[in-house]
């Protein structure tokens, strides 16, 4: 039997709880997830989180200052390259394996955690006992709260052609390619002898060590091995490059420089531009300067291809040689083959959405700022285009090794009567004054852009091609014979037709063509309404355009009957 004296206070407490709960509900703040801070210049710091093993972390990740530790060991009197094996294990051949911790542990939570703690904290404790300044031993001093939302992201260290050239020219290396390059012979019974080197087969590390990419039948077994051994591009490059640099540093004399061992010296985040790389000698693999790409039993004439000039447009060979350094037709046959991932040779060269095909790469160039203004509206010609123009195909399929000579375009030949200097658009004036735009100046600018690009000059053979950018359905030769210019309104209707929804009306034809080009070319001018046409002092209403009435025959479809009064 509950006493009266308890009930009332209990009920009052309950009601107070209710009110507090209501207060919480009425002041629920918008919960914003903590913002991730990305350190793009980590300066040799490493984030130790191992979320693949631990999942959601109980304590914040540890930010480990590698440089500090290496310098601390140097201070103790060791040389820089001798400090590595203080923490990192070595293999049978005395090469460093850049794993941590030293002891190999099972990839599960407790063993990994204990291994880290054992190695790190014991070393710290040791140094403290020796009377030196040391690192933390308490949990929160390593697992700092501030580092909870930090993400350490190292910029990719690019081993570009300039670096390669430096290594090639390094007299100490004596042009011994086998120092870095090797392939894997799966059939060799002795496992330790499976890495072999054969001159003339040097290729990029990425072909075998990029474990995330799906490879063809030749590379797939090798990639399986590298993946199993954990030899990702990251691990392989560290093992290969750092060990060599450490070795050199050991043997180097006092003033001689060796390759860097510090993180931020390779992961600089600074990359050379394509034009800078173009000046550097490319790796030599006996590649031809010019070649005729001729396929046996093909329907089209061969294509004259200038390999050396194309080399200068890419950062790496892998832009085109995506699987191996062989020629495209060696894997991609006329019909699809497994080596070519069932892509036939026509598709390999002409696929407009691939990064590796000729048409695809040209398509990527066409989507750059200077070109996109016209080209975003022009459907690329590919093997599915019906009735492509003969001249278009013949531009490449010449049958000769030598390229057709190219001539820059010029406005000199234009008839000033026909090609107006300034054009006034006033067909739809309602709220705005007529729009005047500098027709000839635009043509001149487009011609300059075209002439500045070798690719553009090669394909823009006539001035009419430039005109086609805006006058997209006119036949230039026919237009040249007419008295009136190719007005947009000749094709684009003023009135709205709800039955033909994909036929652009005149108002939007103007705006989408002009604004589309300005947007794709990322121009500063011409993005605001008033820059093209000024507002009228007394504009008519937006909605009084007479032409925008639905034709009666269509209205009847909607069940409309005419309003008589």
């Amino acid at each position: 039997m509950i006493k009266k004296s308890i009930i009332l206070p209990a009920v009052i407490c309950l009601l107070i709880l209710v009110i507090i709960a209501m207060n919480t509900v009425y002041s629920v703040p918008t919960y914003a997830p903590p913002k991730e801070v990305i350190w793009t210049k980590p300066e040799s710091k490493i984030g130790i989180a191992h979320t693949e093993i631990f999942g959601m972390l109980e304590r914040p990740q540890v930010i480990f200052d590698h440089k500090k530790h290496a310098e601390a060991l140097v201070k103790e009197g060791k040389k820089e390259w001798e400090t590595c094996n203080a923490c990192h294990p070595v293999d049978e051949g005395n090469a460093l394996i850049f794993d941590f911790p030293k002891k190999v542990v099972k990839k599960e939570k407790d063993s990994v955690m204990n291994a880290y703690h054992d190695q790190c904290i014991s070393c710290h404790k040791e140094k403290v006992q020796e009377g030196k300044k040391s690192g933390p031993v308490i949990c929160a001093d390593c697992h700092k709260e501030d580092h909870k939302n930090v993400k350490v992201k190292y910029p990719v260290a690019e081993f570009d052609f300039a670096h390669h050239d430096k290594h090639v020219k390094n007299k100490k290396l004596k042009e011994d390619c086998s120092l870095c390059h090797h392939t894997y012979d799966a059939e060799e019974p002795d496992e330790t002898l499976r890495l072999v080197y054969e001159q003339g087969t040097e290729e990029s590390c990425y072909y075998c060590h990029d474990t995330e990419k799906k490879r063809g039948p030749e590379l797939a077994p090798i990639v399986r091995v590298t993946a199993k051994k954990g030899l990702t591009i990251r691990k392989a490059s560290h093992l290969q490059c750092l060990n060599c640099h450490v070795e050199f540093a050991k043997k180097a004399k006092k003033d001689e420089k060796a390759g860097p061992v510090e993180c931020s010296k390779c992961h600089t985040g600074e990359y050379k531009t394509i034009s800078e790389l173009a000046k550097v000698p490319q790796p030599d693999r006996n590649q031809p300067e010019k070649t005729l790409i001729d396929i046996e039993n093909a329907r089209m004439k061969g294509v004259g291809f200038n390999h050396s000039s194309h080399e200068k447009y890419n950062r790496t060979c892998r832009g085109c040689h995506h699987e191996t350094l062989k020629a495209c037709k060696e894997c991609h046959g006329i019909t699809g083959t497994p080596e070519g991932n069932m892509v036939n040779v026509a598709d390999a060269y002409h696929n407009v959405v691939s990064e590796h095909s000729c048409s695809g790469c040209h398509g990527i160039k066409k989507s750059e700022k200077e070109c996109a203004g016209c080209h975003h509206n022009i459907a690329p010609v590919d093997i599915e285009t019906m009735n492509p123009k003969k001249e278009t195909c013949a531009r490449c399929h010449t049958g000769k090794k030598e390229r057709i000579p190219i001539l820059p375009l010029s406005v000199a030949g234009l008839d000033p009567e026909k090609v107006k200097k300034e054009v006034t658009v006033k067909i739809l004036e309602n709220e705005f004054e007529p729009s005047k735009f500098p027709h000839l100046d635009i043509i001149k600018k487009l011609v300059k852009i075209s002439n500045d690009s070798k690719l553009a000059t090669y394909f823009h053979t006539k001035m009419q091609t430039i005109c086609d950018g805006c006058h997209h359905r006119s036949k230039a030769e026919a237009e040249a014979k007419k008295d009136t210019p190719p007005f947009c309104r000749n094709c684009h209707p003023v009135a709205y037709d709800p039955e033909k929804l994909n036929k652009t009306k005149l108002l939007s034809a103007y705006h989408r063509q002009c604004l589309g080009c300005h947007e794709m070319m990322d121009l500063e001018k011409g993005r605001k309404c008033s820059e093209c046409h000024k507002e009228k002092k007394e504009p008519k209403s937006i909605t009084s355009i007479k032409n925008f009435e639905l034709p009666t025959r269509l209205l009847e479809k909607f069940g409309w009957t005419p309003v008589t009064n």
Partner: protein, 303 residues
């Protein structure tokens, strides 16, 4: 009870159930064509919208609402905040910043195939016309259930007026009856807004998606959302990123109240019978008990 009573009870129960079934309202399926007339709608291509707000100005002019200032300086300030439609603005355009760039998205009534607002209206002041327009009429009581029932929160109430109305886009029903396109469609300089039959708009939208595979998300928003709407959107980025809710489901909102509405006739016919039955049973038991009591008393007397 005896067999006759039992059969009578069952018979009455079945009659009640039959009556309930007959009286149940049948959900009207979203018909796109009524007697040869089709729903009209608007297709919004958000990749074409340049944020000029001429649609807002035209809408205000057509509907006698305060005309907004759409000069460039005014627009710059306006796009800093996300706006919703109000009782004086039937359509607003908002700026969304996404990883594929900035997109302007015009907002207005979606003119659903089966509108929640129309189904909620107890006087059918909100009507779905045979031509697809969802319009408001002045027999409205101002109960505002339509505001609660719209998944897009479109109907707006004129709280400040002494004679308040529910305000929302009506797809320019008046202009339509005079043979004109909606004001916003007329004013749009890039044909980001297109007017036509819903069928043709869906075809056009699908054509654009097919012919520009990398450009659009492969879905027209409004094709099945909430049972289909007549106001359709094309987008280059996932629809949540331009403020369109993707968690509304494909079920038309009126279907949710069908659970209740279909139960009404059954309750109306069966519960009175049920209660009569109970009342009768209770009364009979009481009479029986009274008889027994009287019988006992009589026995006592005779003793």
């Amino acid at each position: 009870m005896d067999r006759r009573t039992f059969l009578k009870t069952i018979g009455v129960g079945l009659a009640g159930a039959a009556g309930g079934t007959l009286l149940t309202p049948h959900p009207s399926k979203a018909q796109v064509v009524f007697d040869g007339m089709e729903f009209s709608g608007i297709l919004v291509d958000t990749t074409r919208c340049i944020g000029c707000r001429r649609c807002e100005k035209a809408c205000a002019e057509v509907n006698n609402l305060p005309v907004p200032n759409i000069s460039e300086t005014a627009n710059e300030a306006v796009f800093k905040k996300m706006r919703k439609t109000t009782d004086i603005q039937y359509t607003v355009t908002n700026l969304y910043e996404t990883e594929k760039g900035n997109f302007f998205v015009p907002w207005r009534c979606m003119h659903c195939n089966q509108p929640g607002c129309r189904s909620a209206c107890l006087v059918y002041a909100m009507q779905k016309r045979t031509t697809g327009h969802v319009t408001w009429d002045t027999n409205c009581m101002g109960c505002r259930l339509c505001m609660l029932s719209c998944p897009f929160d479109i109907p707006k109430f004129e709280y400040q007026e002494a004679i308040p109305r529910i305000q929302k886009c009506n797809l320019c029903f008046g202009r339509f009856n005079k043979g004109k396109v909606p004001g916003c469609v007329e004013a749009c300089p890039t044909e980001a807004l297109m007017f036509g039959t819903r069928r043709k708009l869906l075809e056009e939208g699908k054509r654009r998606i097919a012919q520009n595979p990398g450009k659009y998300v492969h879905h027209i928003y409004g094709e099945y959302e909430v049972g289909g709407t007549s106001h359709l959107y094309l987008s280059a980025v996932p629809f949540q990123q331009i403020g369109l809710r993707t968690d509304l489901g494909a079920v038309a909102y009126p279907v949710y109240s069908l659970v209740y509405l279909t139960a009404i006739p059954f309750i109306a016919t069966l519960t009175p019978l049920f209660m009569l039955g109970i009342a009768r049973a209770v009364r009979m038991r009481k009479e029986r008990e009274e008889k027994e009591e009287k019988g006992k008393e009589e026995k006592e007397k005779h003793k």
